[in-house]
Each structure stands twice: as C-alpha cells, then as structure tokens.
C-alpha cells in the first residue's frame, strides 16, 4: 500500500508523442480511473508505472521511492506492483492455483499454496484451483488474474481495461465484485477504461485523458459537475455543443440560456449541455424528431431553429409533437471558445 505519483512524464514512439507532460497522483488505498478513448495513452501510463517501458522525461514515485525518471528504470520485478493485463495473460501451462502462486515464490511451499488458495477463495474460485486457463470462462480468467496480481501484496495494482472483454450483464457484476475485493485488500489501484460508466461507478478519483494529455483530475462528482473543458465534459457522457457569443452574462441557445457569467460580454463561447440536463415537458418551443428507448430513459432528438440536440427523458414520457425545453443549470457549462 503506497501512493503512486506521476510527475510530468513524457513518452514517444518513433515520432509520435504518446504522453505529453502527464501528472497525477493516486493517493494511498484509493481507486483511480484513467479514462480516455483509445490512443489517449492510458495503457502506456500503466506500462510506465509497471516499469515495462522507460520514461523519456519526468518521474514516477511509488510510496515515496523514485522508480522511473531520466536514466532510471527500476525493473518491473523489483517494483512490487501488480498488474492485470487486458488479455489476462494467465500462464497457459499452469493451473489457476499455480498461476496465483507464481508471485509467491519467496514463501515456503505450504505457505505459498495456502496463500494462493486464500486469494482464489476471495474471488470465489477456490473450487477451480486445479483448472487450466483454457478451461475457465472469460470472467473466471479475469478473477484469477486479479487474485494472481493481489496475492504477493503489491504496493499498488494496475488494471488494463479490466472489464472490456465481457458482456454487459457479467461486466456490472464483475465490476462490483472486483471493487469489493480491492476494497478488502486496501491496495492503491489504478485502472484504465474507455467506459465513462465504469469510471464513474468504480473510482474514488478520475484522471481524464485525451491525446496523451490530462484534461482533468478530480473526484467523479466534481468532474461530472464541474468539467474543466468541453472535452472533459464529453468524456463523461453525451453532450450537446453550441457555439455563440456571450451576451449579458449568458449564451443564448435555441433551447434556452446557459449561464456564462465568468466570461466577458461579447466573447466567443462554446456551450456544453448534458443530454440528461434537458427537461422536456408538453408545450412548444422544440419539435420532437425521434424517440428511441435507451435503458431506463428514452433518447429524444429535438429540433429548434434548425439545430438538433439529444435529450434523455424518463422512459415512456408522454411527449407530443412539440415540447417545451428547460436547461438545468447543473448540467450546462460555458467555456471560452
């Protein structure tokens, strides 16, 4: 259990800049999500923290110890950092039990087997200890990989897209089980995901990335309520974007005004309005183009003055051909454009 501090790290592949001046901290015992689209450099950050690659600039500290920096790369085997790989990378020639025991070679045989079984039990797979990886389902493999990474009591654990290979039902179930296991282990955790829901639900802290840069580092609630930029707002759910100039402290959109008091009058502005911040009621002002079921909500396309926005309304809302629209201030943001 240690904090992980990443300080101004840089990394290039050939001429491509993969990470540019990335900094953030994973406080001791907390779960931090690195959220970003593919190509944002988030998996590379995990590999750098694990020591599988070297940094070209900046430093990485684990528990106060500098492990990566210019001219310094402490070997992965000396870092005591656990990692769950995207494809799990379970050793195909070892049983589930032997996979978990692999990192426990410092212990005596009896201790090692007992500890491995204890960890398999924690992920609910004690009865599969003698199964080989190819005999396990995808979800079971993920849990064995988690037990294997946690068993040696690492200072921090890294998970690369831990739930990406699984179907939707299994995904939510496994996410909750994984979180429970991690909470029990009280290990500092960093996980990489491109799924906003995973990040919001699982993390104590979010690091939102795009194109190798950190857009925002905040608690999930703060990141959702106070996005630092248009891109940061877009990372956490569907938004509607509108460009205009500030007048009288607001930006007027076809669907209503958005507060922009922090911007100068007359300045160009980009407005972001979350789909779930648009309240629809029978009335007039906007035309309903299409209604599609979207889980607990309906996704409604509305049009006004030639502009089409997306709104999330409670499922089966009785909407006519036209609606009145209210923008909830908590889900509407203006940025200078």
């Amino acid at each position: 259990m240690s904090s992980v501090r990443v300080d101004k790290i840089r990394r290039t592949y050939g001429k491509t800049l993969v990470l540019d001046d990335v900094s953030f901290t994973a406080p001791q015992g907390q779960v931090v999500a690195l959220l970003g689209p593919s190509g944002s450099g988030k998996s590379t950050i995990l590999r750098l923290i694990a020591g599988l690659e070297h940094v070209e600039g900046g430093d990485i500290h684990i528990g106060g110890e500098r492990v990566s920096g210019a001219g310094l790369t402490v070997a992965p085997e000396a870092r005591r950092v656990g990692m769950v790989f995207q494809d799990y990378s379970l050793f195909p020639h070892l049983t589930a039990g032997a996979n978990v025991a692999f990192g426990l070679d410092k212990l005596g045989r009896a201790d090692r087997d007992a500890t491995a079984l204890k960890w398999l039990d924690r992920v609910g797979l004690k009865h599969r200890a003698n199964a080989y990886p190819h005999e396990l389902s995808g979800g079971e493999q993920q849990r064995v990989a988690l037990a294997r990474a946690l068993a040696p009591s690492p200072r921090a654990i890294l998970l690369d897209e831990p739930f990406s290979g699984l179907d939707a039902v299994l995904r939510a179930e496994l996410r909750d089980a994984t979180l429970a296991t991690l909470a029990e282990a009280k290990t500092t955790t960093l996980f990489v995901t491109h799924d906003a829901e995973d990040a919001l639900q699982a993390a104590d802290r979010l690091v939102i990335l795009k194109s190798g840069r950190v857009l925002q580092e905040a608690a999930p609630r703060d990141a959702y309520d106070h996005p630092a930029s248009l891109d940061a707002a877009a990372a956490l759910g569907p938004i509607n974007v509108y460009k205009s100039a500030v007048a009288n402290g607001v930006v007027a959109t076809p669907f209503g005004n958005v507060n922009a008091s922090q911007l100068a009058n007359g300045a160009a502005a980009n407005v972001a309005v979350r789909a779930e911040a648009l309240m629809l009621a029978p009335g007039s002002g906007a035309r309903v183009i299409a209604v599609r079921p979207h889980g607990a909500h309906d996704l409604v396309r509305i049009e006004a003055q030639g502009i089409v926005w997306r709104a999330l309304a409670p499922a089966r809302s009785a909407l006519g051909e036209t609606v009145s629209v209210t923008i909830q201030p908590a889900g509407a943001f203006a940025f200078s454009g």
């Binding site: 190509g39 998996s43 694990a50 599988l52 070297h54 992965p76 995207q86 990378s89 050793f91 990192g103």
Partner: protein, 524 residues
Amino acid sequence: MSLAASPADTRALRPDGVAVAAAIATLICAAPAIAVIALAVTRDAGAEFGAALIREGAIGTLSLVLAGGAGAIAFGAGAAWLVTLCKFPGRGVFEWLLVIPLAAPSYILAYAYASMTWAGGSPFPVQGFWGAAFIYAVGLYPYVYLAARAAFASQSACALEAARMLGASPSRMFWRIALPLARPGIAAGAALACMEIAADYGAAQHFGLSTLSTAVFRAWYAHGAPALALQISAVLLVAAMVFLFVERSARGRASYAGGSSRWRPLPRYDLNAVAGGSAAVFCAALIVFGALLPLLWLGRLALLHANVQDIVQPFVNSIVLSGSGAALTLSLAAAIAVAARRATTGWGKSPLFAAGMGYAAPGAVVALGALSLFGLAREAGWVGGLGAGLSLAALFWTYAARFASAGVGPIDAGLSRLSKGFDASARTLGAGPWRRFVEVDLPIAAPSLAAAALILFVEILKELPATLILRPFNFDTLAVKAYSYASDERLLEAAAPALLIFLAGLAPIIILARTIERRRAGAA
C-alpha cells in the same frame, strides 16, 4: 490498446546479440549455394561431354517435373476439393490420412515398388520414366493437398454460398469459383512438389534415369570431374531457385486471396451414392499407393529377409548422426526464428531468405558447396587434409543449411505463443530473467521446440544424397544402407533399412495429421 511493446522499446530493453547470431546463420545457410555458383562460373569444366550431360539431365529433370508435377497437382487438388467441399463416406478420416504419404522419401517408395514389380507383387509394373513419375505423383501430392486444402478452406463461405444460390452444380462451382480462388495455393504446393522432384537422386538413379541430380553424381564419381559436377549443380540450383520464387510469390498471393476473416463452416455438397463412393475410392487409392501398400510390402520383406546384424550399426549411426545434426540445426533455426520475429527491416529477414534458399537447394548441391568451401580452405592452408572430421563437419553444415528452414516454422509458432505478454506478467510478479526463462518461456515453447526437433531428426534420417557424398569412409546410415543394397539389386535386404526410415518418417506426419484433425474438431 495493444499490450505488445513497440519494436523500438524491445530494442531498448534487450541487448542485440541476436543480430550477430542471425548474420552467422545467414552465412551458414547461404555460403554453400554461393560457393557452388561462384566456382561454377569461375572454374573451367574443360570436358566436352559436359554440355551433353547437362542437356540430357535438364531434359530428364524437366520431363519428370512436368509428368510427376501434373500428377501431384491432379491428385492433391482433387483430394483437397473433395474433403473440404463435399460430403462422402469417410471424409473426416481421409482429411488427415491423406498427408501420410509424406512419410516416405521418394527413393524408399522406389525401392518398395521396384521389389514389388520384380517379385510380381505389384498390380502394374513400376519402372523407368513412368514408374518414377508415378512415385513422385503418389508420394508428393500431399504438398499440393495441404496448400490447396488451406486455400479451399479459407475461401469465403459467402462466395460459395452465393454460387449455390445461383444454381451452380458442384463441378461448375469447382471450375468457375473454387479452383480460380485456390490457384495461388495450388501453385505454391506444386512448386514444393517440383522442388522435391528436381532434388531427388535415389529414385531417379534406381530407375536408371538421366536427370540433373544423377548427372552431378556421374560427373563427380564416374568421370572424376568436380568442376563439371559444380556446373551441373549450379544449373540445378537455378532451377530450385525458380521453384522457390514461384512458391514464395504464390504463397503471398494465396494469403491475399484468403477471403473473409470470420470462420464459418463451409457449405458442403452431398454427393450421391455413386459419386460419394468414387470419391472415397479415389482418396483411399491415394493413401494405399502412396503409403499403405509400400509400407506393408516392405514390412513383409523385412520380416522374411532382414539381416538384423547388418543394420544394427547403420541404425545406431543414423540415430547419432540425426540426433546431433538435429540439435545443431535446431539452434540455428531458433536464431533465425528469433531474428525474423524481431526484424523491422528487410535486412532482418535475410536469414529467413537464406534458410529458404538452403531448403530449396538439392542435398547433393549443398553438399558439394560445403565440400568446396573446405577444399578452398585447404588450398589456402587453413585446414589440413579432408579427413573424417572435416567431412563430418561438412555434413553437419549441409544438414544445417538444408533443413534450418524446416525448423523455423514450428519454432516461430512457439514464439508467437510467447509474445502474448507472459513475459510482462511474470516480471510484474517479481520473476527475474532466469526464472522467466525456465518457468515461463521454456515450458510454453517446449511443445513447439519438440516438434521442430522431431521434424529435423527425421529429415536428416531420411536424407540420402548429401550423406552419400560426405559420410566418413565406412560410416553407413540406414539411408546409405538401403541405397547400397538397392544399387546392388539386393532389394530384399534393402527392405529392412527402408522400412525403418519409413516408420521414422511416420512420426512427424502423424503429428501433422493430428493437428489437422484437432483443428477440424475444434472448429466444428
């Protein structure tokens, strides 16, 4: 995002001894062939009969390649079409049994059929030109079969289904859709079969045919004209390179034509009773004539006439020679496979290319090349006379250059299993380099390494012409023993060593057949 480290990163983390090993491997594989070409061009053969010998040999080789190759294509492509795209009794079993004839080298089949013909046990006389062509066709069609089967199987099920929806009959579908799509695959397989025909010495020699391969031996031994032998070798080498080029470029196109990426069971035609029965008889006949009949015949002769004392020493010699040769070649193949996998530039692939060249070159040619290199070294005063030690060294060199390529494929398959990030997981679990090698890399790659070792062992055991040229005096192997008995028309006694070679050859082929079967079972 991909977990694989970028090439740049791999370079940064690992020292580059591999490049040196790869350069040495390239040299070992390519030097004999280069020596043959260089000496053939620079040395005056000075014999008038040389041109006639080359002309006669070239015509003989070309005719055999055409006749044997045509048979191999007809048998191989036909069988592949039947088992991949039709339903008939026994189809699933034939699918993997059809590779069995690869077990016996041509000269073993030649001895078996010759003794059968001589004893009146053969259903038809197998002798002369057509006898050799028959043996090449039934013995080498699996090369075409394997390539064509892969080509048919990888064809887009949609294209074939579309043809069926448009009402195409099986024969129309074969000629208009499946065959044109599989043509590159068939060409690649046929090039391999032709390469083997051109390189064959034992069968052609036994049937008294003049080919380039037999001409090399005639020039070397009968006429005592090493320079002429080198010139004939050079012609043979050029022919082999042409086949290699055809195979490589056809294989490139084959993968390009490889249809949809998603695997789906192919729609198979139900054949009626007559057609289905004929298909089964056709496939069964290929297996009977290519493997079963000669195998049983050799078994019968060996039981009746084996002189056990005579083959104990050759047996031991074969095991020792093949074992040490395989170990040596395996390490060479491993260096080539690792280098090729690591390669980011065209130069990095040069060991792979050189190994392919060595594989294409006939054994006699590589042997003469290696021998000439030692001869040059002696002229330069670097080594003493060509004693047993040097001749063994030349023999191992020949084996390595000839067969490294055959080991690269399976080793590469093993490496591809390793590249999946196991190394990274082991490192994050605290395993140092030695523990990673012993407990992770080695056990994961072991089955592939074992397969490669077995293939190399058997290839060397079966090898005849290079062993004939380079073996130390009085050092007989099973292949040499079978050859010398057969040359003396003592075919009954040749049966026992021939049978042992045949049985050894079955081992890697059974593994190959089982992979085919397992893949099919896994896919179904």
